[in-house]
Amino acid sequence: MKVIVVGGAKIVYFLCRTYISKGHSVVLVNRDLEECTQLARRLKATVVHGDGSDPQILAEAGVESADALLAVTPNDQDNLVICEVAARRFHVPRTLALVNDPDNEQVFKELSNTIAFSTTHILANLIEQRADFEEITNLLPVGEGKINVTEVALTEDAPVVGKSLIDISLPENALIAGILRGGHAIIPRGSTVLHAGDQLILMTLPADHGQVLKLLLGESAQ
């Protein structure tokens, strides 16, 4: 795959290094001449010096034959124009843009064929999920968040420790889909007894989520 990366700083260096190690061919576009020289020395990539939102510079970078373009400059306006030029003018099949202001995600959605990702958004979510409650990890929202898949670690004082599933009256919209115990995975049945230290893979509807956590972990889970 041929990938064009527009931007600078460490993120670009490490991105390119990852792509190259996976066997992709990478062309890098950067506005800063000194940075270009350094990157060219450290990476097995073609480096083009110039403004990536200038159609002529993109053409020089071989955008016509690119499979994907990634715009990761620190300026949303530049990333927007770069993707717009690549998609509209050169018909690059896949364009991806870094969005610095999370509100701008909706702006980029209006762009044809562009996938926008906001690191602010991703980091904020990650931190919220991790810091919120140590025992609980949100694994993934399914169906745009209509179903929560959560990993819950049972502490020793959890009220359900020592009980079998059949004795725990979970609400209707909740399911313990799997248990990780000492490195083994268990698909639980009614007779399965819960132990302290078990990691439960829990599926819930958002409305019942809090109630289920309280049932499993006791009052401390808020």
Binding site: Q77, R89, N104
Partner: protein
């Protein structure tokens, strides 16, 4: 358009932006000017009666604060082409502003934005055409041949 009072957003308060904002405000329109540099507003004329919003126009919250949703006309006149193009894009697609004008220095970028339904003004092209016209008046043609 001259008879009715419009709500106009001028993005960028440099030489062009401040002049336009002052003229439009003087003409009886209600004007909001946006610039990242608070000192840029000093360039507005004494008669300017509109609002000043300090902030980066590439930030959606700033455009909301400037009430882009209510604008009849948006003029993007910052010194950066890409900012102007993004502002025009947002005005057009997100806030559905009926009239959007953008100043674009690089003629190569102008083409792309014509597709978007954004009217662009390119001072480079205008100046070049004007200079060529002057040359022609003086008996020189752009074709390289001299009519002496």
């Amino acid at each position: 358009m001259a008879s009715e009072k419009l709500f106009i957003l001028v993005i960028g308060c440099g030489r062009l932006g401040s002049y336009l904002a002052s003229q439009l405000s003087h003409g009886g329109h209600s004007v909001v000017t946006v610039d990242t540099d608070p000192q840029a507003f000093d360039a507005l004329s004494a008669e300017y009666s509109g609002f000043r919003v300090e902030g980066d126009a590439a930030e959606l919250a700033v455009l909301k604060q400037a009430r882009m949703d209510k604008a009849d006309l948006v003029i993007a006149a910052t010194r950066e082409d890409n900012v102007n193009l993004m502002v025009a894009h947002v005005a057009r697609r997100i806030f559905k502003v009926p009239h959007v004008l953008a100043r674009v220095f690089d003629p190569r970028r102008e083409e792309i934005y014509r597709d978007l339904g954004v009217d662009t003004v390119c001072p480079t092209t205008i100046a070049a055409d004007a200079l060529l016209a002057k040359l022609a008046e003086g008996g020189l043609s752009a074709g390289g041949g001299k009519n002496l």
